[in-house]
Subunit: 350 residues, 2 copies
DNA sequence: GTGAAAGCGCTAACAG
DNA sequence: CTGTTAGCGCTTTCAC
């Protein structure tokens, strides 16, 4: 049914090999005359290469895989876009898998991508810290690499992988310092699940800056949450309830004057909960996020955050994968700067 | 290098055919004894099927393609997530292509997906109305279908395609009616580019409801914009500038009392522009959007909009593609209801 | 129920 | 520079 290379070759009166050479690039060269004939036949017949056949013959496909938590999440969506665009520029298609951060599903996704013989796998959201799940995933990744696959990561996944390294720690530290500069002395941090490397790095940045400014452990409340809107909402609710209970028990002013959510999505939930409780932001409590997702500036109030060039990071991960010369340092790393963006959700401490 | 089916067969002491039958399903049955042996060998050796080879032999791949404007856009991101999940449930991987609505890129993407021999193509964001570009795209799609491909669409693409049909027109009409009920009599509509079918349908819904309520052409201002934040922002700026100019020229009260942006992203831009101009929402002007993207409720103020079950729509499109019995009506359509959600951005007309 | 063998469409030596 | 040919790994008749 479909037009094959053979059909084109016959129609052009050349051999299969020649047709292949002109249509699907090759080192060897073909005379312009035959070349033109083949091209003419190809589009007269409406030839479209059979990618699986090419992948089989070449032992590598024309696709690139992306592993992330959720494409619908603005953070990952932007990365997926960057990966997709860079892949397209290289003539590749991108396979996107949303795993919700579930190690079992990540493992399965990696196997599927491996089976597809994708040219490379970009790890965008698999920042596990859990060694157990990590081992099996590493094995799957190793098997893939042993067969010529390339793995590249956004956020550290250990040495050996080309890595795009956003300055999570530095950005978080800078943000914290800025907040401290506004006079805040009691700060609540809504961080992500322990297994997420980004969450850990960002948390460390906050803690580090707080400690450097002489804040003690009691002045920095850390609350874990999923990196989702509801996670942020619930986390801030717990923080406030606890503070209020302490207040009633005699303490005073134990409420934090600022809450730093380590992801914008989370911060959106924090804002929602605060609004619902009638707590004015930033008059009573300041709020900051991280990532600077596209809608951050449209939240109520406009969210102060740390900007990361998400799409570029995705593109960079692809470049690292496809270009053996890209990246520097022994782990082939690309460092990405984070930039503090102060908007309306943060103000001088009351 | 890689472990092949042949290796497994040899290791298990059976033929290639038998190994294939047990590992990659088939109508024929194999004794439990051999079956077990093969499975044991397979995972002793760490066998992973070669998807391209399977695709070549079977003449169809284990992937599904999604064509959309931009994965990073919440509307499409949610759809992509739904498609990806449904695909995963069917054991398939999903290929995502962002085209920014550019017909040339859409055409190219369709060809790439066809070349990959994807099992189906889900058209999520190709609602062109422009017949010129449409023709070439239809041809590419037809060629794909002639070779056994299945095309399914979200939003109407003409008969012949299985279609998931959100009630754009009805939702827009209902929203408009609700606005009219709040006393608004001068309404501005920020719609999308002419080539986008969704934009047209939604616009028609608004116009229809307005006409039914006896509003004349002068009371409904229509402004086109790209369906992006900046598009919405610029559109509302044009609307206001024009109204203000008219005001100065002697007219009075020509400013609309409500602006309906036919996409939430657009509405976010509208809100931003209004905020910048110091116009209070909803006190001076009400604003409404469409889609109910996840962050709609977190905008400033919380956005009134029309909810569409985006992820479900994506999943439904996949079901339509994979299950020949799915969908009803001659065009195999699945109707999806839209629900008006009134939040803080709309209020009684001043 | 199981195996042998013929492709699927293309690439890449290898000759000429 | 061009053509011949042997696979790539798997599925699938077709015999046994």
């Amino acid at each position: 049914m479909a037009v094959t290379l053979g059909d084109v070759a016959r129609h052009a009166g050349v051999s299969l090999a020649t047709a292949s050479r002109v249509l699907n690039g090759s080192a060897r060269t073909v005379t312009e005359e035959l070349s033109a004939k083949v091209r003419a036949s190809a589009d007269a017949l409406g030839y479209l290469p059979n990618a699986p056949a090419q992948a089989l013959a070449r032992a590598t496909g024309a696709t690139i895989g992306v592993l992330l938590h959720d494409v619908a999440d603005p953070y990952f969506g932007a990365i997926a876009r960057g990966v997709g665009d860079a892949a397209a520029r290289a003539g590749l298609l991108s396979l996107v898998t949303s795993t919700d951060g579930d190690p079992e599903r990540e493992l399965h996704a990696i196997r599927m991508l491996h089976a597809q013989r994708v040219r490379a796998i970009v790890l965008a959201g698999s920042g596990y810290t859990d060694p157990d799940a990590g081992r099996r995933i590493d094995e799957a990744l190793a098997a893939y690499r042993d067969q010529g696959g390339i793995v590249t990561a956004i956020t550290d996944h250990g040495p050996g992988y080309g890595t795009v390294l956003p300055d999570n720690r530095g950005g978080a530290a800078e943000l914290t310092t800025a907040l401290l500069g506004l006079g805040h002395r009691r700060i609540a941090v809504v961080t992500g699940p322990e297994r997420m490397r980004v969450a850990q790095e960002r948390l460390e940045g906050v803690l580090e800056a707080a400690a450097a400014a002489g804040l003690g452990g009691e002045e920095v409340l850390v609350e874990r949450a999923e990196f989702t809107r509801d996670g942020g909402r619930a986390a801030v609710a717990r923080i406030l309830d606890r503070a209020d209970r302490a207040d009633r028990a005699g303490g005073a002013g134990v409420r934090p004057s600022v809450v730093v959510a380590l992801s914008d999505i989370c911060a959106a939930g924090v804002l929602a909960e605060l609004r619902e409780r009638g707590i004015a932001v930033p008059e009573e409590i300041s709020v900051a996020g991280f990532d600077d997702i596209p809608l951050a500036t449209d939240l109520a109030p406009a969210l102060s955050t740390v900007r990361l060039p998400l799409a570029d990071m995705g593109a960079e991960a692809v470049r690292l994968a496809l270009d053996p010369a890209a990246g520097s340092g022994d782990g082939r790393q690309v460092l990405v700067a984070a930039e503090v963006v102060l908007r309306a959700s943060t103000a001088q401490a009351p």
